[in-house]
């Protein structure tokens, strides 16, 4: 297995030095240690790690919001070390898209397998979400094509067959995909309404 690049986020530099050492012993490469804060997302984007490890007593609202945004816009595995007993915090962290949650007093020997599980699960979930995104996209393209056809029928007084052929011809002539042509037709004709 390649050494994975880890970005370590911790407000307590002494504690993060220990965790950083533990992660390196387990075969991870800690590329940077940063403090949580308003620029956390920018930091993650600039370091481009394979995974983010967060060490915190208890994640605050800002932290959870950052994780939720990261999950939407730049999804990557996130493993959080935090207090064990707080059910609410665990639930909130999972909702914000954290892939792995490790209780504070976890045996260091278990850390590696926890991180591996987090990464594997992240990949599975991401694959599922990608499939959903693509399928939705396909459905949407079909709808736009249908809309483009009916606009042509209405505005240009052509039959459905003719509209279909017109779109295909435009696609070939302009060297664009049918979906792109359909989108252009919809935006132009709906604008002039």
């Amino acid at each position: 297995m390649n050494r994975l690049n880890v970005l370590l986020v911790d407000s307590d530099t002494a504690r993060s030095a220990l965790l950083s050492q533990a992660l390196q012993d387990q075969g991870y490469k800690v590329i940077a240690r940063v403090q949580p804060g308003a620029n956390l997302l920018a930091l993650i984007a600039s370091y481009m790690p394979d995974l983010v490890v967060i060490d915190t007593d208890s994640p605050d609202r800002d932290m959870l919001e950052s994780m939720s945004l990261l999950n939407q816009h730049n999804p990557m595995p996130v493993v959080m070390f935090a207090d064990e007993d707080n059910d609410v915090v665990v639930r909130e962290a999972i909702r914000s898209g954290v892939s792995g949650y490790v209780a504070r007093n976890t045996d260091p020997k278990r850390v590696r397998s926890i991180m591996q599980v987090a990464i594997a699960r992240f990949r599975e979930y991401q694959a599922l979400k990608n499939e959903l995104y693509q399928t939705k996209n396909e459905l949407e393209k079909g709808k736009v094509l249908q809309r483009a056809k009916s606009l042509l029928i209405k505005h240009k007084k052509v039959t459905e067959d003719e509209a279909h052929q017109a779109i295909q011809k435009m696609s070939m002539d302009q060297n664009k995909s049918v979906a792109e042509v359909a989108e252009n037709i919809v935006s132009v004709l709906e604008m002039s309404l």
């Binding site: 059910d87 639930r91 209780a103 397998s113 594997a120 979930y125 959903l132 399928t135 079909g142």
Partner: protein, 194 residues
Amino acid sequence: MASGFDVLLVCEDLSGAQPLVEGLKVSGAAQVLTATTQDNVLKLLSSQSIDLVVLDVAKPTMNLFEQFAVIQAYCPKPVICFSDDRDSHVIAQSVKAGVTAYIVDGKSPDRLRPIIEVAMLRFNECQAVKKELAQVKGKLSERAIIEKAKGLLIEHKGMSEDQAYKTMRKMAMDQGKKITVIAHEICDVVAALG
């Protein structure tokens, strides 16, 4: 978190299962059924109402992976797997087969509660995405069958695309059926008649 859930505990050897059974009950399980890895887990799951499957094995086997892939397809359940195997391939394979939580060396009864809670949350989150995916795929295939029926009418009845669609819509209204049902029927009839 929800309590009063029913658990199926699958072990290699039932003689050592008692601490885990107790731990599950303390963590809110109403009922804990036990089975060995030799039993037909799928059959047990289809005959009993189970909310959570807990697996306690030294190493998950190919046979187990296969059973779990089938379980995820027919009656998806959250699955927690306690194992001694920290091999990254085994972990990846388990997650792929539908194991919600894979835990190495973490079987202390007092830690079960947060583990169960997280597993159930993740499972529900995943099921929601899977359900949405199934719906979107359903819509796509409905559209495909309507397009196919339209194409057949155009080809065999010499209709225009517009006429074909209007014909199907009229059939659907007259017969009080969904247009996808009509489209299926048209495809079946044309296939039978050649």
